[in-house]
Every structure is written in C-alpha cells, then in structure tokens.
Amino acid sequence: MGAADRARRGEGDRVRSQDLPRLLREAGDEAAEPDLARSTWERGRRSRRRRLVLTGTTGLAALALGVTALTLSRPDLPGAEPAGRGGAAVGGAAIELPVDGATTDPGGQAERVWRTLYTACLEDLDYEVAGVSDDGGLAATKLGVQAGERDRDLRRCRAELVLDSPVTLAASEEPAEGPWPATGEFPAETSSYGMDQSMRVVLTARYHEYFIANACLQEADLPTSVLPPAEDFIHELAREQLPAWHPYLEAAEQGRYADARAACPLTP
C-alpha cells in the first residue's frame, strides 16, 4: 500500500509528505512575511534618479561650437543648473552607466563623497562641472571632446575613485582578505542587511584598500581625514552602496585630488 493510499484512508499527519508541492510550501512557510513595498519603492526611485547618465550633444548648434556635455544627473530633469565653475549642460540622448547609487540618505554623507570626488576627477580631466538643480547630480562640459572620449573619461574616474559597491563584483574580481589594520576592529558579525561571510570579506578588503591609501597619503604629507571605524564604514557602504568616507576626500576638498591620486592610486 502506497503512502498516498494511506493518506486517503485517514492515517493522518504521519503521511502528509507525499506531495512535493505541499512539502515545499511547508518548507517555505517558515519565512516571516516581509514588508518591502514602501521601502523598495523609495530606494528604487532614488536609484533611478541617481543613475549616472551620460548625455551627449545632439543639437547642431552645439556641435558647431564643439561643445559636448556630460551629465551625471536624474534623466527626467530638463537640464543642468550651472554652479561652481558655471559649465552649461546641453541636453541630449541619455546613456546609462552601470553605476547604481541607491542611497537611502540623499543629501547625506555618502552622496557628498560621491559628488565631491566625481567633481574633482572630472575637473582634473578639464571638464567644467556643475550641480544639477537640487537633485544632487552633476553636469560636466568640455570643449571639443570627441565621441567616445566621454565614456573613457567616466570609466577613468570610476577606476580611479573605486566608489562602486564591491558586493556586486564578480568572483574573479573579489580581492583577497588582507591583514586587518590596527586602527579598525573588524566586526565578528555584521548582522545588519543580512551580510554573509563573502560580503564581509569583500567589504573588508575595500576598507583595507582605503586604509592603505590613507596611510600612503599621510606618508606623502597630503591632506587626509580621520578613518572611520571599520564597522561603521562597512555598514554604511552596504546600506548606501556608496562609501561615506574616502581617502581622497580631504585632498579633493582642498584642491589636491590630482596629487592624491598620483601619489597613492587605488586599485579598481
């Protein structure tokens, strides 16, 4: 007599497991009901707004002037609002870059780090950088830049700054875990955000990389700021997908980004 027959004959719960779909439902039911609707909506919309957008020149007049604009901003804004050195952005077709800055704290420290460092890097490449309205995005313009050069320049900044969240790296890109710096105690357990061991290793490596660069900058007598505790840095990076501290930040704010990058390059 098969188990299904026994179940039909009323032998009760002991033979409840003949049905794989039902077994799987029982196995899955132990997960608590989530509440993700509102939080993911807000984070998704911020992510959408804050994607780096490369806007190429499309207007003939602008082409005639040899002006190309590079806009890192929300795509639904009509244009850039000149700020800082006053570069004027030109609208056009948008090309998304594979950077996803889903910060949960727009206007916060992580966003400030992102804005300061991209401004410094692009200015170092002779772009004029402007803020975009109150969105927090950036627009950069450069006379006579060629098609493809903008892509290359943005890639160069990405590589130099090493800002992208490392938890999305492929396995082949995962850095090895190095010795832990004396100034920061790595947390034994990072319970927030469900971090597993592999994530901790990658985030630890990022902290270690920044730590080495910071020490290098101090050695080179370049501007630095106080390294945050490892646990704070890692949690912030996991939460915001952007770091709230960066070894080049102080140098960039003092106009010495190029010196810092040249003296103590980061490894992408």
Binding site: Q18, L36, T40, G44, A171
Partner: protein, 182 residues
C-alpha cells in the same frame, strides 16, 4: 503613469512579496539572504516601474531573483563546498537521522534542497513550488527546455536518495512532469 507615491507598485508588492520571499528562502536556505535577494530585485523593479508595470512585473522579479541567487552561489561556492565536506554537516545529518514513516518536516526539505546544485534547486522550486511550466522555467533561468528537463530529472534522483522515507511523492512528481510537458 504611477503617482509619486507608487501606489500601484506598493499594491503589487504587498500582494506578491510573501510568495516571492518564500521562494527565495527555498532557493537559498537563509531567511536574511532571501530577504536581501528579494529586496534587491524589488528595488530594480521600482527603478523601472514605468516600463514594467504593464508587462509582467512578477516575471521580471522572479528572473532577477533566481539568477541573482545562482550567481551568488557561484561566487561563494568554494566556502559552501568546504562546508559540505564537513562530516557533521547537513548531508550526514540527513542520511543518518532516524526515519519516521512518511514524515518529512520543512527543515528537512530545505536541507535536501540546499544539497542540490543551485540550478537544479531553482528548477525544483520553480516547477513544484511556483508551478511554472517548463517553458516559463526556461525563460526565467535563461536556459533551454531540454536543460530544464535534465536538471529536474537529476534533482529528483538526488532528492529520492536524500529523503528515501518519503513514500509516494516520486510517482506524484512523475505525473506532474507529464502534465507540465503536455
């Protein structure tokens, strides 16, 4: 167009987040990780909601969820392989625990699933938990229908070995496969 508060998105997620989380839990075996996987997939959906809301948002989320789960497993497979060589690990416990006639608890099923390669695990969950057809499974995972069949067959062979005390469910699975390919 959705309003600034995304009411239609919120309604969709509120209705579907439970089943999606449970599927993620079955795939990865860790509730926190399942939560993170689903959260990441939903954030991607929210950022593309205008484009996806009238198409198949759940299929999109499922595709992201399952593929991310498999990718994640591949990134961490070395650690997991080491764990599986632990003589006191899940495999040993599954094979040595006292059999109880016809009784399999949810935890045992999850443990057995975790011993499957990730794609086989995904196929099992998509087929028998989410009740998707072979064609839909193939689309979700980005593989051929033939691969779906072979992965399902291999998975069932392994599960039969891991949970031998479960009588009667293998014929039921065979019938399910026949129904799914009809």
């Amino acid at each position: 167009m959705p309003g600034p508060t995304g009411d239609d998105y919120v309604a969709f997620v509120t209705a579907r987040q439970g089943p999606l989380l449970r599927a993620a839990y079955l795939i990865c075996g860790d509730e926190h990780l399942a939560h993170d996987l689903l959260q990441d997939a939903l954030i991607k959906l929210a950022s593309r909601w205008e484009r996806l809301r009238d198409e198949a948002p759940e299929a999109y989320v499922r595709r992201i969820l399952y593929r991310d789960a498999i990718s994640r497993w591949r990134r961490t497979r070395r650690e997991r392989l080491v764990d599986q060589h632990d003589p006191g690990g899940e495999l040993a416990r599954l094979r040595t625990r006292e059999p109880v006639e016809g009784w399999v608890e949810g935890a045992h099923v999850r443990q057995a699933l975790l011993l499957l390669p990730p794609r086989q695990r995904a196929v099992v969950v998509l087929r028998y938990y989410e009740d998707l057809s072979e064609a839909d499974i193939a689309t979700t995972l980005g593989i051929s229908r033939g691969t779906v069949k072979s992965q399902a067959s291999d998975a069932m062979t392994t599960l039969r070995g891991l949970l031998p005390e479960v009588e009667g469910w293998v014929p039921r699975i065979v019938r399910g496969e026949e129904r799914g390919t009809a």
